[in-house]
Subunit: 213 residues, 2 copies
């Protein structure tokens, strides 16, 4: 019997990556909202859990593990709870590492760059055109790379980033792709990403995950 | 007999992370310089290896695996070649996931933010004070988080990010900490990071890795 995993989160793309994957894996979890608009993630009690002071963070009473960084949390959940490999590939295989490469591409480039684009376009108090252009252009470049990645998986109708099923690399990207509208970037300009996005958005667990935070 | 791993790289912090770890593991490798100042990483032959068009990338003839993203490459090298766990922790343990968390913190926050600081302070053709301040301040915040992380490992004299020995989390951070001077940020302002940095910089394999590219 799996005990509920504690999920400290807020309704952001990074938070949704984790709630979506918990739903997909049909794991029990308890949501602890951390209101980042009130700087709750910088409070001492939370920094004890995550020195970086950012959501999401999980505490898993089944293993005693406390973990932050979406890339690490997704990998952990896949390793520990996707033991029948429905949403991952066997440890040590080429597909396992390709999934890790694209997951890290998401957390190390897509997320940070799209996040900076949000900052300059939506949140910054000064309008800095240089910053808007720099990060919007790089965000578009990155989705172009994902279009290329999907094109390399024609053997599987370009439906998944890696192999013949969804993985954490797909769910991580979906969390951010779902917020492209905010930048007035239309994901449907990329034909393969358009199909990929539409199919993922139809999954009921994905829809439910997007309501959490 | 391990066949030489092909390393496509250039003398950047991300390139050095991998050459340092290959040296640490005493693995044979062949350096293929990819001159990013001539946009060689955007050429078709390289994009076939890495759709993102960025160094470093490895091709391992021992497994047939081609891999990009430093976080994925470091994890792969540790999994595959550090089987006696000198620089990693056993798969599935709390220390394994804490190492992954801090490795991902490096590739998802330290690297991208310090990279943007480099852009605005060193490379940008226009001087945008807003960008300089934004990314210099966040770079300092992130090193402050690493200082906190080291402080939590007092049981091991705060010499390592996780547990009782170096891991990929340390080597990844070192690659970027080594370039803080460029931002006129002195790592010795953080007492624990100062000691951590000095000790790592003395290791001959680390010094050798820094010459590659």
């Amino acid at each position: 019997m799996v005990k509920p995993i504690k999920l400290y989160t807020w309704g952001t793309p990074n938070g949704h990556k984790i709630s979506i994957f918990l739903e997909i894996l049909q794991l029990p979890y308890e949501v602890h909202s951390v209101d980042i608009t009130k700087n709750e993630s910088k409070q001492e009690w939370f920094v004890k859990l995550n020195p970086n002071g950012r959501i999401p963070t999980i505490e898993d009473p089944n293993t005693g593990i406390t973990l932050s960084q979406t890339g690490a949390i997704l990998q952990y959940l896949a390793d520990k709870y996707d033991t029948d490999l429905k949403y991952s590939y066997k440890y040590g295989t080429p597909e396992y590492y390709k999934t890790l490469e694209y997951l890290i591409f998401q957390v190390a480039e897509n997320g940070p760059i799209q996040g900076q684009a949000n900052h300059f376009k939506v949140y910054a108090k000064e309008k800095i055109q240089y910053g808007i252009d720099r990060y919007i252009n790089d965000t578009k470049r990155i989705y172009g790379v994902y279009e290329d990645i999907l094109s390399r998986n024609a053997a599987n109708q370009s439906l998944y980033l890696v192999g013949s099923h969804y993985t954490v690399a797909d769910f991580a990207l979906f969390g951010w792709a779902n917020r492209l509208e905010r930048l007035e970037i239309d994901i449907h300009q990329w034909p393969l990403l358009s199909k990929w996005f539409t199919k993922l958005a139809e999954i009921s667990e994905v829809q439910k995950g997007l309501t959490v935070g």
